[in-house]
Amino acid sequence: MVDQFRKEAELLYKQLPYENNELYKRYQMKFDLPEYTEEEFKEGEEWKSYLKRLEEELGLKFDVVVHNGIALHKLSEVSPNIRKMEADGKSELEKIMKRLHNEPDKFVAYTCSKSRLVIDIREDGNRTYNILFINTSKSLPVVFNITASGGAKLTVNELFVAEGKEPIVSGCVQNIDVGDASYAELNMLHLEGKESDVFTVLEGNVGAEGKMATNLINAGGNRIRYRSSIDANGNGGKVQTNNIIIGFDAQRIDIAEKTKNINEGTESLSDTRAIMMGNSAAVIKGFSKIEKGARRSVSRINERGVVNGNDAYIYLIPDMSIDESDVVATHAGAAAPIDKDEVFYMQSRGIDEDTARFLIMAGFLSGSIGRISSDWIKSLSYSAITERIRGKGFGIPKAVNISDLWINGARR
């Protein structure tokens, strides 16, 4: 049965135009997933002390903990609106494939064929869920279905950590549906260890006058592969994606994000800021499509990179396809080393060169971090990013603090 799903998924994968686009294919990071057997997955106990320390450090309780791909809490005790489902094999696979707008990834097939675990959140009120993903050994990818409806204001904060003795693939597939006049914010903070590969697939759909915001913060992991496809579907629907990337050591990062304006008055704003250090390399592909009939729509892609390492590399590919004339659409990509004039200016005030470079890089990302509404995700993101810039280790920072750099940047 599993083999059958995989064959079907791989066949679909090969037929898809998006992943076969020559430009995209050229910069596609090869990412073969390991073959696991279900017997290899065990809950284990090591996550408990880790969780305790983390909750104390952050001063919060996680609503859901997923260890090695297995949800540990009784979800019904968290809220009646969140539940665990067993995916029913092929139909679930087809459903997700369909919802990914013909841009599925091999990983989706693997997810469904192996995990069969779907965490389903259906929220119609104001609610924040804090979810921790801990991987300490081989992990099952997790599928999330998130639905905000009936004017809901839903925030889902996700923290991904992975530390193990062997390489781990940290995977997650998320399907987000924001109904009419509803709001959902998804904050994904990745702090996996250097042995971990990170694989994320995100698909979203926004209804009339609804709004969906995603904040992706990558400050960990070895190889990162992120695929997202979000549609501003209903009239006046808004999508805002915010990607904050910090590449270090020999990291390889492959991000492809797609937004679509489908109906009138829709808005899609995509902003990516990346700092590449060491001999890390990133390819950021942002694609926006404005469909015929999406009059008075706005679409913007803004990709910016700072290269702070002789061997670091970033390639930005903002791209658009516009089938409607009455629209506002802009796309831009710019990457450069740190401006020497900025460093000199700071030095002329008495700041040493290393600190000046640090402040410039932290400042470059601070505006993007300031867009995150969750205080703990914002604080932890800032702490993690500043530690990476300073060349410190992986994982959760020893001290989580809110630097006031961006507070005084008046961006809160």
Partner: protein, 244 residues
């Protein structure tokens, strides 16, 4: 503090700009340096501050008799030198107040009270007629031309250098702003006893100040060293008398 520049030669991008400049400035003194466009005034200011853009090929820069040619700009700043930039760069995401606090703490090697710092900043924003809102913004980001100039003077007031080099603090300012900036520079320097080297093209700003010494720079060389009366001569008849 005594700043000595002895027979300074410097290039920018391989092009020789300074051809043997010598100058002495002490704390408490007020110098003005003038010269036609392209004579090397800004290059001199940058060379003193240690800009990597400027290559010093010959000569010495000394602070209290100690050679600083090889010191990085931050070490020069921490000795008490300050450069007001003609066009300060915008640095997004770096909060104005936090930047000033970091710098002030670096200077004193201790903690600066944020309350006292804010009071001082508020005092000078009032005196310089700057919108208080700039303190909540990123460093120079989105500042108007006038705000940038005034913000530089505000930084000088807070950081209290021993010798400040002011590179065209009046350019691009309206007449009222020139007066405000000039009065504040005078007040700050008198209060703190700092030395000032002001680079300017016009005598309007100097009409509100009392420079003691004037220097004319031409083709990378000082061609006049003397009393400040030269400023009026330049205003009336240009540089001909000096560069003849």
């Amino acid at each position: 503090m005594k700043l000595e520049i002895v027979d300074l030669h410097a290039s920018v991008g391989g092009k020789k700009i300074l051809n043997g400049v010598s100058l002495v400035i002490n704390s408490g003194e007020f110098h003005v340096i003038m010269g036609p466009n392209g004579s090397g005034k800004t290059t001199l200011a940058k060379a003193i501050m240690g800009s990597p853009e400027v290559e010093v090929t010959e000569g010495r820069i000394l602070v209290d008799g100690v050679l600083i040619n090889d010191l990085s700009p931050d070490k020069r700043a921490n000795l008490g030198l300050f450069l007001q930039f003609q066009n300060p760069v915008e640095i997004g995401g770096v909060g104005y107040v936090n930047f000033l606090r970091s710098v002030a703490e670096k200077r004193i090697g201790g903690t600066v009270s944020i309350k006292e710092l804010m009071n001082e900043i508020k005092d000078y924003t009032n005196k310089l007629h700057i919108d208080q809102g700039i303190v909540g913004r990123s460093l120079n980001e989105g500042f108007s031309g006038g705000e940038k100039k005034k913000s530089e003077i505000l930084q000088m007031a807070v950081l209290k250098p021993k010798i400040a080099i002011l590179d065209e603090p009046d350019s691009g300012l309206d007449v009222d702003a020139v007066r405000v900036v000039a009065n504040n520079i005078s007040e700050i320097s008198e209060k703190s006893g700092m030395g000032i080297l002001i680079i300017t093209h016009y005598n309007r700003i100097l009409s509100y100040m009392k420079p003691q010494f004037a220097h004319v720079l031409y083709n990378g060389k000082i061609v006049y060293d003397g009393a400040a009366d030269a400023v009026d001569e330049i205003e009336k008849n240009g540089y001909e008398k000096f560069i003849g």
